[in-house]
């Protein structure tokens, strides 16, 4: 096995990096890939709770880097899936505890043993971001259809290109079709035209993401929700499959039609 190292980053915080990392990891593992995810957000650990593995942490990334444990010991296995592991971030240290070359060394150690290494990058453009992209073969940028998130995504894409880690792949997260139809949200075409990068996924805004995060069960575990399905599609695209983008139009059920009539015919 020769793993691919995929880093998920965004520039702006709160756009859904960790959710995206957790769900793509779960979806790749569901496709029978051996996946290790690394939480590179040192001091602000979160991938563990999103994956629902917070109670099983013994060692973390900094313990591995500083030689207090072996790599294997810091890998928490997710029992819901055959081969999904998490290396959690340290919570009580700062990002300077790890260097870009530490990350490269660690990923090289994993490469021969797994199919995918996913790195959840912290927000920002400083040390934590540098750590996260140093070992990357593929970099994914998560953004929302919103001015500040798109602007930061553009900055990050420029930095990724400058580091020769490009071309970045874009994940457009929290797309709200109701707002788009009303002309109150940038659509995927607009964002792609502005950022001029390759799109790898469009994730609809979906309540089930909130619910599943509450429970520590990523939506991509089952493909019943639209968001879950959208994450599974990203995993399949990473796997080399050609998968068309989801049709995110809401189902035109009776209640939708009724409420439109009541609102006065606006589509």
């Amino acid at each position: 096995m020769t793993a691919k190292v995929l880093t998920i980053t965004s520039g702006k915080g709160g756009v859904g990096k960790t959710t995206t990392t957790a769900n793509i990891a779960v979806a790749l593992a569901n496709l029978s890939h051996k996946v290790v995810c690394i939480d590179a957000d040192i001091g602000l650990r979160n991938l563990d709770v999103v994956l629902g593995l917070e109670n099983r942490i013994v060692y973390d990334l900094v313990d591995v880097v500083e030689g207090r444990c072996r790599l294997r010991q810091a890998m928490i296995r997710d029992k819901r899936l055959p081969e999904l592991y998490l290396i959690p971030a340290a919570q009580t240290r700062d990002k300077n505890a790890v260097s870009p070359s530490d990350m490269v060394r660690l990923c090289d150690e994993l490469r021969s043993d797994v199919d995918w290494v996913l790195i959840d990058s912290p927000a920002g453009i400083e040390r934590g971001f540098r750590n996260a992209i140093a070992p990357a073969d593929v970099v994914m940028v998560v953004t929302n259809p919103e001015v500040s998130a798109v602007r930061d995504a553009d900055r990050i894409i420029g930095l990724i290109e400058a580091e020769e880690k490009g071309p970045a792949r874009l994940v457009l997260n929290r797309v709200n079709m109701t707002l788009i139809k009303r002309g109150d949200m940038l659509n995927a075409e607009d964002v792609l035209e502005l950022l001029a990068v390759e799109l790898i996924g469009i994730i609809p805004e979906d309540e089930s993401v909130v619910v599943s995060t509450n429970r520590g069960q990523p939506v991509a575990l089952d493909g019943k929700s639209k968001a879950g399905l959208a994450f599974q599609n990203i995993a399949r695209r990473l796997n080399g499959e050609k998968v068309p983008f989801l049709n995110l139009e809401e189902k035109d059920g009776f209640f939708n039609r009724l409420s439109r009539v009541l609102r006065g015919g606006g589509a």
Partner: protein, 87 residues
């Protein structure tokens, strides 16, 4: 958008505004040239060009354009019609 704007065809959708604003912001972020610096550069360019050919400063357009992830400085400088040819 209400029915009135729809009838009058007024384009005031917030998404359009977001896109237009982002276009300008991204150009300046990517090139690190402020609108003020752009203005200075434009005036200097005009000065040099008008030393050699007659131009109408008001018809000149110098803009930054996006092509993929590359930025381009595009100048459209109409020359003033002259009757007297140089010898």
């Amino acid at each position: 958008m209400g029915w009135l704007e729809r009838l009058t065809g007024k384009k005031d959708k917030s998404a359009d505004q977001a896109k237009e604003r982002l276009k300008l912001v991204l150009i300046h972020d990517r090139t690190d040239i402020t609108p003020h610096q752009m203005e200075i550069m434009k005036n200097e360019l005009l000065e040099v060009i008008s030393r050699h050919v007659a131009i109408d400063p008001n018809a000149v357009r110098i803009d930054m354009a996006q092509e993929g992830r590359e930025q381009r400085l595009i100048a459209d400088i109409p020359l003033r019609a002259t009757n007297s040819r140089r010898k």
